[in-house]
């Protein structure tokens, strides 16, 4: 019997951008996603963290825990994002304190209960979904600083045909040996430091005749409304500028040079 096509939607880094989340969920359902996965970092950056969490949980999104969620869940002192620059840490802490103070205990308990990884079957493919990397939740795997042989090592060591990750905030993918693949599924929380306001999620489709296809999908949403709500919540003007301009204004020092040159700060 002919195997049906399977389609799953994946995203990471909601960063409390519930308006983009709403738009992405609608779009993924319209495109026929059978399952929707969130690879962690529900909070940070944006306003009203409970709104994203309510939406995620009521929409049956299958979620894994990111470093932010582990921190908020356990009320750690910081987000464990791994910034090294004092300015980046200053803004990360403002955002973290706001998010922790505005997240309900029920959501925090849910975050604590989430797994750090999911094994997914997509047709015959063994897909491993994680937050940063399969070996460390908050490891940055940037496109320009991650060699192909290292990714080959990861898929071999973790018995996967496809590894899905997020954490860096910028989508990318690379074909590996033996038709295996690494995919950073992107984030919904903020634009990609390229001067565009839209954010991204990823659709993975497996068809017996075609194999795996991967599509990065831009998500338009009401960025002006999000910005107004961020201002009303007294979140930093630098964050608002990123939402409106599409360029990162913080978290800059962890960017490798290729990724940083695409921005203007």
């Amino acid at each position: 019997m002919k195997q049906p096509t399977e389609r799953i939607a994946c995203f990471g880094g909601v960063y409390s951008n519930y308006l983009a989340l709403e738009a992405a969920l609608r779009d993924a359902q319209r495109r026929g996603a059978e399952r929707i996965y969130c690879l962690g970092d529900f909070g940070a950056f944006g306003p009203h963290p409970n709104r994203s969490l309510e939406l995620l949980r009521s929409s049956n999104v299958i979620a894994i825990q990111g470093n932010y969620d582990q921190s908020i869940g356990h009320a750690f002192a910081d987000c464990q994002c791994g910034y090294t620059d004092p300015r980046d840490n200053h803004f990360a802490q403002l955002s973290y304190d706001y998010t922790l103070a505005h997240t309900n205990e029920d959501h925090r308990a849910w975050m604590r209960s989430l797994p750090a990884q999911w094994r997914i079957e997509l047709g015959p493919l063994r897909v491993l979904a994680c937050h940063g990397s399969p070996r460390k939740m908050n490891e940055f795997l940037w496109e320009s600083t991650t060699s192909t042989q290292f990714l080959d090592h990861l898929v071999t060591q973790y018995d996967a045909d496809v590894i899905l990750a997020t954490h860096t905030g910028i989508k990318w993918q690379r074909a590996l040996s033996g038709r295996r693949r690494f995919i950073n599924v992107g984030v919904l929380g903020r634009p990609e430091n390229d001067g565009h306001r839209h954010v991204w999620y990823t659709m993975l489709e497996y068809a017996p005749s075609e194999g795996l296809s991967v599509e990065f999908i831009p998500v338009e949403y009401d960025a002006g409304r999000l910005a107004r709500e961020m201002v009303a919540e007294r979140l930093p003007g630098e964050f608002v500028e990123t939402i409106l301009s599409g360029y990162w204004t913080t978290c800059l020092e962890v960017l490798p040079s290729k990724e940083r040159r695409r921005g203007k700060h």
Binding site: N67, H74, F76, D78, Q80, C81, G82, Y83, T84, D85, P86, G132, R135, K136, N138, E139, F140, W142, E143, S144, T145, T146, S147, T148, Q149, F150, D152, H153, L154, R174, L252, E253, V254, L255, P256, S257, K258, E259, R260, R261, H265
Partner: protein
């Protein structure tokens, strides 16, 4: 004495110009100078052999240090070839860079999916604060190198060893950023390193005290990924050593090939304590990750 296993060879370093440098800095932990040839240049074939071996081991990133790497006549070619294998970072004093080299490297990086990072060592935000450490006139020479890199489209990471009181850190960092912007580097990147109390620095200030050692108890809940020896090795002209800091220590030499050098390493040096205290001191900020909660 605690021992640390290599979890995976993420970072492969090359002591590409040995201990040979055109400068003689007062804090250099391996006393590099124009005449110190204790460690020599790595020839291109040695670099190629280790790059080829590194693929099998799944190396993630490559770093080049010295001495001054750009004294090596084939440095540009080495970096061009490395960018076919993975991301490359070169640690330079910025004083000998030539336009034609940078143009070649600009094109090579544009052709590669990987970043080429330059880390330029400057130890003060002015000639008055830098030159006593790095030598007369080195501040202006290094700054010319920085601006040359910026002109070619690179975003150099200015790397400064903390030769000031840590209480002055915020002021010093602000002065660095202001100076770099004023000179024309619009979005400066900065990495501050702790000093290592070895080599020349031992005479400039002091060596390690006997109590400054890592103990088993200290590592019990410690995130070992913060230690260089947990994920790095360095190729020198004598063989493969455990890390860029300890190359002069006899126990740091682990083998002739990468495959021979994968054994655990005992943390019995004062410098291991600095690595433990500060974490990931040799990596670029893009490759660091926060410590796991203890």
């Amino acid at each position: 004495m605690p021992s640390v296993a290599l979890s995976h060879l993420d970072h492969l370093w090359f002591q590409v110009s040995g201990t040979l440098c055109n400068l003689t800095c007062q804090h250099c932990f391996i006393r590099c100078s124009p005449t110190n040839d204790q460690f020599g240049y790595l020839d291109l074939d040695t670099v190629r052999r280790h790059l080829a071996e590194s693929v099998r081991l799944g190396v993630k990133e490559y770093y080049f240090t010295g001495g001054e790497p750009f004294l090596h006549r084939q440095m540009t070619q080495i970096l061009v070839e490395t960018l076919r294998y993975g991301p490359a970072t070169v640690l330079t004093n910025g004083t000998v860079l030539k336009d034609e080299w940078l143009e070649t490297l600009r094109l090579a990086e544009a052709d590669s999916c990987y970043s080429l990072e330059f880390r330029v060592s400057i130890d003060g935000f002015s000639a008055e604060t830098n030159d006593p450490i790095r030598g007369q006139g080195t501040f202006e020479r290094a700054m010319r190198g920085v601006l040359k890199l910026v002109d070619f489209g690179f975003l150099p990471i200015i790397t400064a060893a903390r030769t000031w009181d840590i209480l002055q850190e915020d002021t010093v960092v602000s002065c660095f950023v202001a100076m770099l912007k004023k000179r024309g580097y619009a979005r400066p990147r900065l990495k501050i390193l702790p000093t290592l109390h070895l080599g020349a620095e031992e005479e400039r200030t002091h060596g390690y005290r006997r109590t400054e050692r890592v103990t088993d108890a200290m590592l019990e809940t410690f995130d070992r990924t913060q230690l260089i020896c947990e994920h790095s090795r360095i190729v020198t002209d004598r063989g493969v050593c455990v890390c860029p800091i300890l190359i002069e220590s006899p126990d740091a030499l682990l083998g002739g090939t990468l495959g021979d050098s994968l054994q655990p390493f005992s943390l019995n040096h004062g410098a291991c304590y600095t690595c433990y205290q500060y974490g990931a001191i040799c990596s670029n900020p893009s490759s660091q990750s926060a410590r796991e909660p203890e």
